[in-house]
């Protein structure tokens, strides 16, 4: 125990309040933790393994880009890549789950069909087309990853924090306060007994004195 509390009734009452408050906080934090975990598993179900899938896909995309590079000069590729623009917008809505801000992405992307893809079939090879297709897939995936991964990361960090708080309240704060309360209660009882006994002693002494005085008066 860090420091001995003053054994006063005031201190006892204060401690009682603090314990009540700690219990309340503990309960609330526990609920928060459960809610966060629930939300976390919801997202986890949706986004399972999306990271490793994306990794594999990007590897493939890099490979096909390399092949395309072998067929076209890099200048040509650069020029072609500049030509394949399309409109896309992302709406970000921030969802608040128990104080954790989670982005919610809504992507509005222009669908592209062949003649508007920015390259001509006669001027390029099939490798380029494959590359473009792969990267379109990668982009879609990366966007869904962006949403779920960030949400997961934030939730898990918050879960950890909350968990730590719950545990510190449950296993450190509250027991310590209870110990302190016990010590104070014990000391107060002790004081009470002490003063009770000394009162008794004084009373007995006074009676004895009185009796002796009475005897002296009689004699």
């Amino acid at each position: 125990m860090a420091d001995q509390p003053n054994p006063t009734r005031m201190e006892l009452l204060k401690l009682k309040d603090r314990i009540a408050l700690a219990r309340k906080g503990h309960k609330l934090l526990k609920q928060k933790r459960d809610a966060l975990i629930l939300e976390f598993f919801k997202i986890l179900k949706k986004s399972k393994d999306i990271r490793s899938e994306l990794n594999a896909k990007m590897k493939g995309a890099y490979a096909s880009l390399a092949v395309a590079k072998a067929y076209h000069s890099s200048f040509e590729l650069e020029a072609l890549s500049l030509a394949s623009a399309r409109n896309m917008d992302v709406d970000v809505q921030v969802k608040n789950v128990m104080g954790v801000k989670i982005p919610n992405l809504t992507v509005s992307m222009e669908k592209r069909e062949y003649p508007n893809k920015g390259y001509s079939i006669s001027g390029t090879t099939a490798m380029l087309e494959a590359t473009i297709e792969e990267y379109e897939g990668v982009l879609d995936m990366a966007l869904s990853l962006a949403e779920s991964e960030i949400a997961m990361k934030r939730l898990i960090t918050e879960i950890e924090k909350t968990k730590r708080r719950v545990n510190s309240l449950e296993f450190i704060m509250i027991p310590r306060l209870q110990d302190e309360m016990k010590v104070i209660a014990f000391k107060l009882d002790e004081l009470e007994r002490d003063s009770f006994v000394s009162l008794k002693v004084i009373k007995r002494k006074l009676e004895k004195d009185k009796a002796e005085k009475a005897k002296g008066a009689e004699a």
Binding site: R51, N55, K59, S81
Partner: protein, 106 residues
């Protein structure tokens, strides 16, 4: 609701593919990627910024912390040409620490 564009930031081999997919806001850099990222973040035009895993690993920890607390824009690290991403393992380790068991193991 905030509307914005998507940006890609990385070395040329990283950004080119995304340009083919239709992203035109690709910033290619050789040096000073961190500075570029801050510029992109501050410009408020972008709601999603993809950065390469390499850049992500080079970022200052303060900036990283800031990014991880930011709701907008969304910044995501994607695997580099070298392949493996540390980010996935990162999350897995976090999950393991917070929940007490490895989800990927089952």
């Amino acid at each position: 609701m905030t509307k914005g564009k998507i940006a890609v930031l990385g070395e040329s081999h990283f950004t080119m593919g995304f340009m083919f997919a239709g992203l035109q806001d690709a910033v290619t850099y050789k040096e000073g990627g961190e500075q570029r990222l801050v510029e992109l973040m501050d410009s408020k035009d972008y709601s999603v910024i993809f950065i390469s895993e390499k850049l992500n690993s080079e970022l200052d920890w303060r900036l990283k912390k800031k990014i991880s607390n930011l709701a907008y824009p969304v910044i995501v690290a994607l695997p580099d040409i070298s392949g493996e991403s540390a980010e996935g393992d990162n999350i897995r380790a976090l999950i393991k620490r917070a929940l007490g068991f490895d989800l990927a193991a089952k």
